[in-house]
């Protein structure tokens, strides 16, 4: 258990990375103060706590900072070791979950962001196809990891569920904005069923942003991005 004020999390509601430690803390039933970062400008606390990257999330435990979302999740798992385990105990299973979490962050999420950045119909279609190929790989991984149970972690949510599940809000925004189905009962039945169960989980439902609210936020971001791109383009 944690005392009042012992655990603080610097973050912002739209960020999938911030969701990860929130889910982990919820799984361990740890109370924490959520400090919403404005990001523009970045707070002194953020700059002081994460001087290397200046990014959220940052966990402050007894005012000591821990940075990088998946490193924070592992820290939470190790500190509050009496709660439900987030990483599996078997070294090989741990390696497999770490492998897929790294794939999701290094390859799959960038491909999802690639849909919004794609210019023109052909590029957009290619970007969507790339995301679907990644989901096909993850569907296979889900089959192997879950062994017929509800989650990558088996009966309960684990490290890999958190690593992928945090992106579901943004995945749904991509689906709505581009009128496509990325998760498909026919092509990715395992992941489709998993996504619903993940979002309905007690540790997740309070911190998963609503798709419509995220979509409004996405439109603001894209408008800012396009304005900056237009300003950078030299006048003809």
């Amino acid at each position: 258990m944690a005392e009042k004020g012992e655990v603080k999390l610097l973050g912002a509601w739209p960020s999938p990375f911030v969701m990860r430690p929130r889910i982990a803390l919820n799984l361990k039933s740890i109370e924490y103060d959520f400090i919403e970062e404005t990001m523009q400008p970045k707070s002194d606390l953020l700059l002081k706590s994460n001087p290397v990257y200046k990014k959220i999330p940052v966990l402050l435990h007894h005012d000591k900072p821990i940075c990088e979302s998946l490193i924070i999740v592992q820290y939470i798992d190790e500190v509050w070791s009496s709660g439900p385990s987030i990483l599996p105990s078997d070294p090989y299973d741990r390696a497999i979950q770490r492998f897929w979490a790294a794939y999701i962050d290094d390859k799959w999420f960038p491909s999802l962001s690639g849909i919004a950045k794609a210019q023109g119909e052909e590029a957009k279609a290619a970007a969507i196809e790339q995301v679907r190929e990644g989901l096909a790989l993850l569907e296979e991984a889900f089959g192997k990891c879950s062994q017929g149970k509800d989650f990558f972690g088996g009966e309960n949510i684990g490290y890999l569920d958190i690593a992928l599940g945090c992106y579901l809000g943004w995945l749904r925004v991509s689906e709505k904005m581009n009128s496509v189905k990325l998760l498909d009962e026919a092509k990715t039945p395992g992941l489709t069923a998993w996504a619903d169960k993940f979002c309905a989980h007690d540790a997740v439902k309070g911190v998963m942003p609503e798709t419509d609210k995220l979509m409004e936020f996405a439109k603001i971001i894209m408008a800012r991005f396009q304005a900056a791109a237009a300003a950078a383009t030299p006048a003809k």
């Binding site: 290397v52 090989y92 390696a95 770490r98």
Partner: protein, 230 residues
């Protein structure tokens, strides 16, 4: 049960070196198999279908991929000796943070120093020295990042010492002049057989990277010609 440990590797890969160092620190016997990266073996393609890259550790027939994931796996399995992570969770998080920082920065920025030229190379040099200086600050006056033993930060970073001659020759600068503490740390690491036996000769690496640069420039030239012909 007899352990079967195979490492699919390539002699000049800093990522392969990380795994060699970890296995050597733990005293694990293994079979090293050199891959031809221009003609990847069926075994490599089967064991790492997602990335098709080395290193791959095959332990009792099961593959583990991605160098830092392999290093943590080795630490988890052979957990009765030479720990590569401290036991305190906060110190573990700190070590993971810096190993991840090395992973995010050093290869990509270092490669720009030996493969590119002009303004791109100049910017990369500045950035690389910035990273090295930050790592020096993190090292402080410790013998190794792990204190008196190697930890995952040492293992992640020291393979890039094999690039230093190439970086200095291609970039026309002196790393020891800018980052003397880092070079001193690297030399201390090299006093350990686990490191000295895992890193190839710096000059051999230099001629190899020059060859890769020649191929890269030739490819760029061919692409440019193809674009101009359109």
């Amino acid at each position: 049960m007899a352990e079967e440990v195979i490492l699919l590797d390539f002699w000049s890969s800093p990522f392969g070196m990380r795994v060699r160092i970890a296995l050597a620190e733990k005293g694990v016997e293994y079979e090293e198999r050199e891959e031809n990266l221009n003609n990847k073996s069926p075994l490599l393609l089967k064991m790492n279908p997602v990335h098709k890259q080395i290193p791959v550790l095959i332990h009792n027939g099961r593959p583990v991929c991605e160098s830092m994931i392999i290093v943590q796996y080795i630490d988890d399995v052979w957990n009765d000796r030479a720990p590569l992570l401290p036991s305190d969770p906060y110190q573990r998080a700190d070590a993971r943070f810096w190993a991840d920082y090395v992973d995010k920065k050093i290869y990509n920025i270092g490669k720009l120093v030996w493969i590119s030229e002009g303004a791109v190379q100049k910017a990369a040099k500045r950035e690389l020295l910035g990273c090295f200086k930050l790592l020096e600050k993190e090292l402080g006056d410790k013998c190794f990042f792990g204190g008196d033993r190697l930890n995952i930060v040492d293992v992640a970073l020291v393979p890039f010492y094999s690039w230093f001659y190439a970086l200095e020759a291609c970039g026309n600068f002196s790393i020891v002049a800018e980052c003397p503490h880092l070079v001193a740390w690297a030399k201390r690491c090299m006093e350990r057989p686990s490191v000295s036996k895992s890193l190839p000769d710096q000059y051999k690496v230099y001629t190899h990277l020059l060859e890769l640069r020649r191929e890269h420039v030739a490819r760029l030239g061919a692409q440019l010609q193809a674009q101009q012909a359109q």
